[in-house]
């Protein structure tokens, strides 16, 4: 049955795995790039829109680019401004300077200044926050984006990227969306997790990463998203590797597996390769094992 005639059935069959970490630098993007090389037909999404790196390994060929226009930005027309100062008085974000100019980086686009301005000198304009692309890569289609410097609305851009990825997956009959998520637990992470079938947290055996993993777990519990954990760079500290394993066991979080610290990850990155391509017999094998565990969990949850 071709995808076009039963879009609803396909929509049900697509599962999304979002790779997160809490703490930055644990190897989210390297792991995502490696998993991209494995598993079923998929669409990839890079939702780390503040500092997107996945494209550095996937070498995307952009076939479509869209402007991301979201929210608004205030603008004060100096010619019409009479210097009454109402905008400065009411702006809660420090976005109006003493000379009654908008400080773009601080403007939240709330519309208060435009509302209070007696001269209509302050107006709200559409805000160009960034761009997003649909691209072809050797592992499947990739939706990726670049948020403008000092911009807000990363949550909205993340949502745009994920929606585009889902649409592509439906059109292409792909059964998996693999999403590289942002670090932290804030708005962009929340936006990348909504409706996901599985969150995959990449941790490392350090006190910092353990601390952050617990907060990430609280977040996935809060939004009712199943969680699996990979411990990357496991050789650095055996004790904390065990502590993380124990935490997972005690809290009903499934361990997908561990990956040893290996310069192969950096060497692969330098060559713009996933570690599966660079070191197929070594780390490549480890990642295949990890993927099989993840696929098994996805199959189990799908029943």
């Amino acid at each position: 049955m071709s995808p076009a005639s039963k879009p609803n059935k396909n929509a049900k069959a697509i599962q999304e795995v979002v790779v997160i970490s809490g703490k930055g630098g644990t190897g989210k993007t390297s792991v995502t790039a490696a998993l991209a090389a494995l598993g079923p037909k998929k669409v990839l999404a890079d939702c780390d829109v503040d500092a997107a790196d996945l494209h550095l390994v996937l070498a995307p060929d952009n076939i479509r680019t869209e402007d991301f226009i979201a929210g608004e930005r205030a603008f004060i027309n100096a010619d019409a401004c009479v210097g009454c100062g109402l905008c400065l008085e009411h702006c809660r974000y420090g976005a109006v300077s003493a000379q009654f100019e908008i400080i773009n980086e601080n403007c939240e686009g709330c519309g208060v200044c435009a509302f209070v301005c007696p001269e209509d000198a302050a107006v709200m304009l559409p805000r160009h926050c960034g761009v997003w692309h649909i691209a072809k890569t050797r592992f499947g289609s990739l939706v990726h984006a670049r948020l403008g410097v000092a911009e807000e609305n990363s949550g909205k851009l993340v949502t745009t990227v994920r929606q585009a990825a889902r649409k592509l997956a439906e059109e292409q009959g792909a059964s998996l969306i693999l999403t590289d998520g942002p670090p932290g637990i804030g708005c962009p992470v929340i936006a990348s997790l909504g409706g996901a079938d599985l969150a995959l947290a990449v941790a490392e055996p350090t006190t910092s990463a353990l601390h952050d993993l617990k907060r990430v777990h609280d977040l996935t519990k809060h939004f009712d998203i199943p969680l699996m954990v990979i411990i990357n760079k496991s050789g650095i500290n055996e004790e904390i590797t065990k502590t993380i394993g124990d935490y997972c066991k005690d809290n009903g979080v499934e361990m997908a597996g561990t990956l040893p610290y290996d310069n192969a990850f950096t060497q692969a990155q330098i060559r713009a390769l996933s570690v599966v391509e660079y070191d197929p017999e070594g780390r490549g094998r480890d990642l295949l094992g990890l993927w099989n565990r993840i696929q098994a969990r996805l199959d189990q949850d799908n029943q």
């Binding site: 550095l56 670090p183 609280d218 950096t266």
Partner: protein
């Protein structure tokens, strides 16, 4: 002197640099304070072990509609005007969805019946204390809360402006980072010598140039990757403030929540050199 330690990429070593530099400066007798503005994942306390004495909740304003004064279906102006879609008109009444509210006050101002007053809701906590004689401030965002900038503002307000104030920033270049960078006299960008490190460093550099904040770069785990970052700094004429070498011993100390200074042989010198170069850069800016 407010110095904000930032990066584009997460995990490059911002907290490592803040913790170790602060400790080095404290040992040198300088009057220094630290603030952790990574309110989503605050880790600085793991390395400095502060004695935390005060915990204060931080709130943001949220509208409360008086149903007696609200004219409901005849108006709906608040729901119409709200840029964050936090208010809707349903069954003749206004419903407020607090988590979506940015606390801008527009609905309160706009209501023709003056039916809206401002209540408040908790977004997180600010904790203050000491690491020996060094003031320490951190913030922790409530899980599920999307807005960190007001909490970051609260952390900065609570942090004493000592002779040198070191601020640990979240990763990235979007609004929480901008909030943390606001008012910085100088910024230290921490990166790693890899393609991901370089790519994200460039984003951070663009951000700082746009904000017109003077900065320099520290390369952490130098030797683990290639020379792409060194080459970039030379090309761009950006000051290399220092390097911290890639070392298994340093990585292991970090993993245990230990500082480099005092625990990893030879590492104090790297932070000493870093401080000399920061001072030199700041001196050059003022001259």
């Amino acid at each position: 002197m407010r110095i904000v330690i930032a990066s584009g990429k997460g995990g490059t070593g911002k907290t490592t640099v803040v913790a170790n530099l602060a400790t080095y400066l404290k040992l040198s007798g300088l009057n220094v304070s630290v603030a952790d503005c990574d309110v989503e994942e605050p880790n600085l306390h793991l390395f400095l072990n502060p004695r935390l004495d005060i915990e204060k909740t931080t709130t943001v304003p949220v509208p409360k509609v008086d149903p007696e004064r609200c004219t409901g279906d005849d108006c709906g102006l608040c729901a119409q005007l709200c840029r964050f879609k936090a208010l809707i008109l349903m069954a003749g009444e206004v419903m407020v969805f607090a988590e979506l509210c940015h606390g801008c006050g527009l609905c309160t101002l706009a209501c023709p019946e003056k039916a809206i007053i401002e209540d408040s809701r908790i977004i997180g906590v600010v904790r203050s204390g000491m690491v020996g004689c060094m003031p320490f401030t951190e913030g922790e965002l409530r899980i599920g809360e999307a807005m960190s900038p007001p909490l970051i503002e609260a952390v900065k307000s609570a942090s004493p402006k000592n002779e040198v104030e070191l601020i640990d920033c979240p990763p990235g270049t979007s609004c929480p980072v901008i909030k943390s960078l606001d008012g910085a006299d100088f910024s230290v960008l921490v990166t790693e010598p890899t393609p991901f490190g370089l790519h994200d460093l460039d984003l951070a550099v663009q951000t700082l140039r746009q904000l017109r904040i003077p900065f320099g770069v520290v390369i952490n785990r130098d030797g683990m990757g290639n020379s792409c970052v060194h080459d970039y700094l030379e090309r761009e004429g950006i000051a290399l403030l220092g390097t911290i070498p890639h070392s298994l011993e340093a990585a292991q100390a970090y993993s245990r929540g230990q500082l480099h200074v005092g625990h990893v042989q030879g590492f104090e010198a790297h932070y000493a050199r870093l401080w000399d170069n920061i001072r030199q850069q700041i001196g050059e800016i003022h001259s």
